[in-house]
Amino acid sequence: MDRNLNKLQVKDLVTIGIFSAIYFVINLIVMVSGGITPLLWIFMPPILSVLCGVIYMLLVAKVQKTGAVLVMGLITGLIYVATGQFTLVLLVTFGLACIVAELIRKATGYNSFKGNLLGYAFFSLGMVGSPLPIWLFRDSFSEQMVSQGMPADYVATMNAVTPMWVLIVMVVATFLLAFVGGLIGKALLKKHFEKAGMV
């Protein structure tokens, strides 16, 4: 039993599964409201990085083992791809972000708050893959909208509200707000979960 201590047990896997479900539902809620205004959609990653800090923090506190974050990211990415959201870009960014987060967790020994916080900041960057195709495939995207019956000047306006610097602002905001989210998560953990003896 001892040599398996750092491997994911069934209990860990179940925990990861359940937390992924909650993470995805919160994603979905933000995304549906993102459908109402595109601006909210573009800034979905930073919003999520504030909201989901508590989920991540509780997960890494409960499963202090290699792979927890990676499996959660993969599942979320897979469900996104399965529901047809925004090509494979998201799966790739999620995968990369989770691998970086795993490396940080490994280096800091799974138990350090600072390490987990930094890991969470990188994990949050995975969501950037959701609106990324706007910038990545701008030409084909615009072309497609024109061919689907949009007048060209509308498409031009849409491109005008998403210049390159918006992408940079979005990425930086995601990264910085993840620290806020992580701190909120830590505070909630202290206030509720540690008292209940769950962590």
């Binding site: 994911l8 179940v14 359940i18 909650i22 995805f24 459908g35 109402i36 959609w41 529901t83 689907q148």
Partner: protein
Amino acid sequence: MMGATETKAIHLDPRTELLLLVIANIVAFTYSARWIEFAVIGVLALLLLCCGCGRTAIKWVIVFVGLVAIQYYVIPILPKILVIMFSILTVYVRKLFPCLMIGALILKTTPVRFLIIALRKWHVPQKLIIPLSITLRYFPAIKEENRHIRDAMKLRKIKGLERKLECMVVPLLMSAAGTADELSAAAITRGIENPVPKTCIVDLRFHIQDYVCLLVGCVFIVAANIAH
């Protein structure tokens, strides 16, 4: 599972459905011709109908027609700022439609355990199958949980967005942690940790309808690329 009401409907192998999902993804992001999009929706509606989800099929088609109507008849007369909003919505949501329809098909016709068997046949690692199936299974539980929490919040008259969010997320995570313990205990009791290869009573294999569906899917990929 094989109830009397389902005898007329076609049963697809879960693997076919997953492959169709991938195909739909590819087609959705390559097509440029409008007729291919309409054809995809039409064929998928037919598939849903054949699999015994006629009502779902009709619902999807109506929503799709509504979206197209909005795009071509309502958007041209809207002010510019609203146009940007709605055009992203209609263009993107329409792109999601094929995948959402197949997703609905999977949810309606395939129990999670069939999905697990299919994934196991593809040699997906157990470490991914277990959490994935738990995730899928837990979505309805969240919905139910959410209802209870809302009721409790109303009773205690909790106000303010921040406080509401906290009162929402904390109990959700609390119960999630509890459920995780219970579920894993149940799974271990049933021998999930047994390292020998798992056997199963359901015999999943490809039938003629699976090959037909995949063939049609491939035709669509080719057509989409030619039209592109």
